[in-house]
């Protein structure tokens, strides 16, 4: 649309840039006069002047703010200043940034916008503009953070946040760090990510929390069911072999989400436990990890297959130490590589027990004190490798709360010196 109509006087008057050419703007763009019906008005605009600083950037558009205030004198009816939501359809490529819909600052060229004279973009005129300005300024860093945003290509002000695994991880870290104080504004502060609004955080937080709650309740349920089934399985006597599949010491359904793909389908009786947490680094799972986790659980506890329900524990929630995501090394007592595969290590005695018949009475796991060595080993594992993900991924209490409580209990300093 032929929009750029402005009289030179208006140009001067409303120009917010101090370095505007005070002279009458000459039309230097004769070739464009075809596009405009209001040719005479165009003549008064010196486009060379406007674009002077944008050399080398073919996509650059001038800051049209100065033009935005121009009333269209006698020309077309668009008031560019106000029509902020026309969409920038007319903008692409046109050096005029054809007026309608192209508000100052809402340039549609992908990536950066070099605005020369603008200096600082005076995009504070209206709220939504401010956001766009912000988007553009951080456009350079957009790639780094892996964010994909609507690059100003649509006229509406909502910038869609792509919750990449990395971004989500930072989010979770911030939440964990804040504990009870994990409110969107503080999370935003901690994350320090450009382009994220409090609103983005708030809604993400809400989804995150609701999912975790759901998940934890399920885990707890599953734990009790699994234990019960194990007990039943063992008591049959002849079920010795069966028991191999379930570790009596472990709560195999806790904390480990199944892989997103195959295992869930092959084990219809298996209830996928999703941990709404960190990405696995598996590229196939990078995007929108958490929506997958919102999948309704397939099974109710009574149908829970006695075999472990878990998959590689590489998607734990509790990865709050800033380490990159990676599948943890096989943990001695915790990690069957594939769901359903019996955990042999724990059952050395079982086959022998079965063979020996009645000679074996009680298996250590049956009573409530698991073997000391295995506990010791597990704990040492944690101490040695603090970066390992939390096996369950419970919601962490606020640090301040814990410290305060400890002080009340007479522990003034942690870690104790």
């Amino acid at each position: 649309m032929q929009m750029l109509v402005a009289s030179s006087s208006s140009l001067r008057d409303t120009a917010t840039k101090s370095d505007d050419n005070p002279e009458t703007i000459e039309s230097g763009m004769d070739e464009f006069s075809d596009c405009f019906s209001a040719g005479s008005l165009l003549d008064s605009i010196d486009f060379d002047e406007l674009f002077a600083g944008l050399d080398g950037d073919p996509d650059a558009l001038p800051d049209l703010e100065i033009l935005g205030d121009y009333s269209i004198s006698g020309g077309t009816g668009d008031d560019r200043g106000q029509s902020s939501d026309d969409g920038n359809d007319a903008v692409s490529g046109s050096p005029f940034g054809s007026g309608s819909g192209l508000d100052a600052g809402s340039v549609c060229s992908p990536g950066e916008v070099v605005v020369d004279k603008a200096g600082d973009m005076d995009v504070k005129k209206d709220g939504p503009e401010g956001h766009f300005g912000k988007v553009k300024k951080s456009a350079a860093s957009a790639g780094k953070a892996g964010r994909s945003k609507a690059r100003g290509s649509d006229g509406n002000r909502k910038v869609k946040v792509d919750w990449t695994p990395e971004l989500h991880k930072r989010f979770v870290q911030a939440v964990e760090q804040l504990g009870e104080k994990a409110v969107p504004s503080r999370i935003l502060e901690i994350m320090g990510t450009d382009g994220l609004t409090r609103h983005n955080i708030a809604s993400h937080l809400q989804k995150y929390r609701s999912h975790r709650k759901h998940l934890i309740a399920r885990e707890a349920e599953a734990a009790s069911w699994n234990q019960r089934r194990h007990m039943y399985g063992g008591a049959r006597g002849g079920g010795m072999g069966k028991r191999v599949a379930v570790s009596p010491w472990l709560l195999p359904t806790i904390g480990f989400p199944p892989a997103m793909s195959g295992p869930m389908h092959h084990h219809p009786t298996v209830r996928p436990l999703h941990v709404w947490g960190h990405p696995s680094g598996d590229p196939s799972q990078t995007n929108t990890m958490w929506p997958k986790h919102i999948l309704p659980h397939q099974l109710r506890p009574p149908h829970l297959h006695p075999r472990p329900v878990w998959a590689p524990p590489h998607l734990p929630y509790g990865q709050s130490q800033g380490m990159p995501c990676y599948p943890p090394p096989p943990q001695r007592f915790m990690a069957p590589p594939v769901p359903g595969i019996p955990h042999h290590a724990m059952y050395k005695t079982d086959p022998r027990a079965a063979a020996a018949g009645p000679a074996t009475i009680l298996h250590p796991p049956l009573d409530s004190s698991p073997s000391n060595e295995s506990i010791d080993a597990a704990l040492e594992d944690v101490l040695a490798k603090p970066w390992l993900p939390l096996p369950i991924g419970l919601k962490a209490p606020a640090i301040d709360t814990v410290v305060g409580e400890l002080q009340r209990q007479g522990v003034p300093q942690i870690p104790p010196s």
């Binding site: 760090q177 009790s224 019960r228 409530s368 603090p386 096996p391």
Partner: protein
């Protein structure tokens, strides 16, 4: 005592407690284990446990429920096995 060292210490304690939870240990068992194997003051363990419980009520409710059942079951299971043994051994002695 910087904020970060407290935070990471507490995180570590939580991690250790969670490991104990996977062993279905009790709070007291956990305090003992952490004291013994990781030299963590039982008061600290107990405090962190309590706070975890507050933040994860549902989990801990279910956890203690299943723990009770487990204890009960193991008694029942034990007696059943003993019964079996008795009957089996009496069979054996006949052969």
């Amino acid at each position: 005592m910087g904020d970060h060292s407290s935070a990471s210490y507490i995180h570590m304690v939580q991690h250790l407690i969670e490991k104990c939870l996977t062993f279905h240990m009790s709070k007291e068992g956990c305090m003992e284990a952490l004291s013994k194997h990781a030299k963590i003051d039982p008061v600290i363990t107990s405090t962190v446990w309590n706070e975890l419980e507050k933040e994860n009520k549902e989990f801990f409710e279910s956890y203690s429920k299943s723990k009770n059942e487990e204890d009960r079951m193991s008694e029942a299971e034990t007696s059943e096995l003993i019964q079996k043994l008795i009957s089996d051994s009496s069979k054996d002695s006949k052969e």
